[in-house]
Structures are given as C-alpha cells and as structure tokens.
Symmetry: none
Subunit: 228 residues, 2 copies
DNA sequence: CTTCTTTTAACATCGCCTTAACAACAGATA
DNA sequence: TATCTGTTGTTAAGGCGATGTTAAAAGAAG
C-alpha cells in the first residue's frame, strides 16, 4: 500500500489524520518537526507527502522546495489554516499538487489523494507499449504499420487482416477461439461475421504460403492456431 | 498549447473564464449545454475538461461519467456553486481530478490546472518538435521556411500544406493515422476537416510527383504513409 | 478592392468488407 | 460402406463508404 509522509505539528490533528489514513489502507509516518520530516523523506521512500504549512523548524514551503529538488514527481499536498491566495500560489509554484485549508473534510482529503494517485497509476499504465512486431517463420509482421514482409515479399495489410493476424500472433501455437476473435474484432458472434472471418483466414493463408513451415490450422468448431 | 473543453451555462462566467484561460495560453472551447459539450469532447481531442455541475441538458456528473467511459485519463475539474460534501465525493468517485467552488479565484484555478498538467507532462518528451529539415527522395523540405525544393523545382508551401507534410515526414515510412493528423492540425476530427486533409494530400502528391520513388500511400480507414 | 489560403461542394474512382455461391471436408448415423 | 448435415475453404461479385481530384465559395490579410 502507498506510503505517506505526514508532517504536522498539531498533535491531535496529526493523530486524527494518521488514524484516518491508516484505516483507509495507507502506510503513514508522522513527523512533527519540519527538519525531521525532510530527513525522513530523504531516508525512506514515500509515494505521497502531506505537509502542514506552519511548522516548527522548517516550514512546509521549504520542505516542499527541498523535496522537489530530489524528486520531481512525488505528489505533495499542503495543509493550511490560512486560505491566503499568495500562499496558495507560492505552493503551486513549488510544484505542489493540491492545497487544502483547515478545517477540512477527511473524506475529501482521501478522495483528493486517491485522485492524484490514480493519475500516476494511469500514467504508468499507458507508458507500457503494446507489442506490435512479430516474427512468423521467415516473415516479419509489424502490426502498427500493418506491414507483413517475407524474403523479397512485402504487403501492406488492411486493418481487419491486421487485426486478425495480430490476435493469432498474440497466441502463436495456441488455439484461439472463433468466438474470441469475433468478439474482439466485430463485437458480435453471428453467422455472417463468422464467414467474414473465414474469408480473412483464407487471405492470410495466401499471404503466408511462401514459408511452408507456417500454417493457420483450423480446429473444427473451436477456432484456429497459427503454427510457426 | 493545451486544449481545454469548458462547459458552463452562465454566459458571463463562461466568457470571463475563456478570456482568462486564453490569455494564459490555453486553447479553450466553450459550450453552454451539457449534451453539446459531450458531443464536442467526442469529436475533438482535449487535454483538459472544466465542467460546471449545474447545466441544462446534461449535468456535469453525467458528462464526466460519459467522458470517463471513453477516456480514463483526461483530467476533469468541476466547478460548482455548492460545496456539498456528497457532491464532492460523487465527483471524485467519477474520477474527477479537482473540485472548485464558486466564487473561486482565477489564479488558483490556473495553478490547479497547471499542477495537473505538469504531472502529466513530466514523462512526455518533445524532442521531435524542433526538427525542421527533411530529405524526401530527391527533395529537400524546410518546414521552418515552408520551402520544398527538388531538382530545379522550388515551391513555397502554405501553412497547412507544410503542417501536413511535416507530420508525415516525422514518421516517414510509417503509418500516420488520419485522426492524429486532424487532431494535431485542426484540433478536431470531423467529416469536413477530413475532406480538407484529403485535399492537402492531393496537393502534396502533385508537388512530390517529380520523384517517382516518393509517394504518399493511403491506408484505407487508417491514414497515410510517406514512402521514400 | 485584390490576392492568397482554406474550406466546402460535387463528382469520379477505388478498394475493403460483406455476402453469396459452391466446393471440400469432417462427423454422425445406419 | 454411402448419405446426410453442418462447418470450413475459397473465389468472386457488388455495395457502399472512403478517398482522389478539381472547382467554386468562403475566409483572411493587405
């Protein structure tokens, strides 16, 4: 679970927050002093920081500044009794992600934390590239460019040809069910789409016939296997 | 620059925001009606959404729900006169990124937008933006000077001709999706902009026909490839 | 106004996908 | 074995949406 660094000098507020966040599945470390908080950040690995602005030792702005110097990404939320505009602007300029004025609603804080963490997770997910290049016997298949090339031979596939071949490639040497292909590409499994699929299989077989070690095998009433 | 979809029925508030955001370098589209706003989102590609909660036609929650169905990532901020806790929680559950109650401070809104965009942009790279000179077969294309020259031949390209050719050059020998070109140049993907693109492709083909090793290949229903 | 660029319109053309038609095949039944 | 039946293999035709192309209208800049 996500580790949160909380720096807050008000003891009752601090424990309240720790309780609340821990009961929501976060792993929270509480520090009451600015310098100690920053020190802890440098030593440990935190996914999230919640900083009070008014602190003994070192104020929230300074902590944020220091944190940003070594970590440009870790989300930071400020807690403040003040709702002064200048304070908020200063915070955002330091790369703070959100700003919450006391007294605040715990649930709202929770949702704001979740909103920011979600954004990070989505970002990481989308940076995973999907596989687009496959080797099929002596062929090279580039799904992104809809391009199939063998020795001397090169063919630009149509979108549907490409879709079908990609699905087969993703489960090479394994059975892919007719139904799964139909649902994935056409969104429905009926007689006519089934016949369309058969037409595309025939086309792909033609393209792939140069290398006789490659074949698209039919498993009657079940589906197809790309062997190679 | 970042494109913002703003849905706000209060006319004066709407224009105020548009003015303010545009003067801060954003490209803002304003819709006063919920349904129209959602429709616009589906057609164009937006980097950011700012939705009023109370709207005629379709309320902000419903818009957000629909937007989240097709785009899990685009940041959404709610504007609301109400500061009801239940409303806020509902919003965050829909995957909203922030929640701002009216009357709000424009600068604070701006910094909140920037905070969220910063988080997204941290991982993005913009290395391709600066390239301006390309070799296309026996042609030389200088995007900065909108100049295309072949043997003996030299042609000053118009802005849009240049934009289209540049995008194709940046992914030479690779498929560039129609949609991507339309979004990059026109900001939205609809029928008429699509036909405009086809017109520009025809023009570019004419300019490039001197070297027959160069071609702009159509990949039906997907996009184009600059071969050379 | 003129001049240049972009969009819209109109019509021609292309080619992908579906559908149809028939052949081949496998499995079931007797 | 032969026959029946449903599935798949294969090719071809046609519809229809997408694209190619040119010209006219609209827009922008001076």
């Amino acid at each position: 679970m996500a580790r949160i660094l909380l720096v807050e000098d008000d003891i009752s507020m601090g424990f309240l927050l720790v309780d609340f966040l821990e009961s929501n599945g976060f792993d929270v470390k509480l520090y009451k002093d600015g310098k100690k908080g920053l020190e802890a950040f440098r030593k440990g690995k935190y996914d999230f920081c919640i900083l009070d602005v008014m602190l003994p030792g070192m104020d929230g702005f300074t902590i944020a500044e220091n944190i940003r110097q070594e970590d440009k990404k870790v989300p930071i939320i400020f807690l403040t009794a003040r709702s002064m505009k200048q304070d908020k602007i200063k915070g955002f300029q330091l790369g703070v992600d959100d700003y919450i004025t006391k007294p605040f609603d715990e649930d709202e804080l929770l949702y704001r934390i979740k909103a920011i963490l979600n954004r990070i997770n989505l970002q990481e997910e989308s940076s995973k590239e999907d596989i687009t290049r496959f080797t099929i016997g002596s062929y090279q298949f580039d799904a992104a460019n809809q391009n199939l090339e063998g020795n001397g031979f090169a063919k630009r596939l149509t979108q549907k040809e490409c879709d079908v071949l990609k699905i087969l490639c993703l489960s090479k040497n394994e059975i892919v069910k007719r139904e799964d292909i139909l649902i994935a590409i056409w969104g429905e499994n009926d007689y006519f789409h089934g016949r369309s699929l058969d037409v595309f299989i025939a086309k792909l077989r033609k393209y792939l016939k140069e290398d006789e070690s490659v074949s698209i095998e039919n498993v009657p009433k079940v589906g197809f296997v790309l062997n190679g």
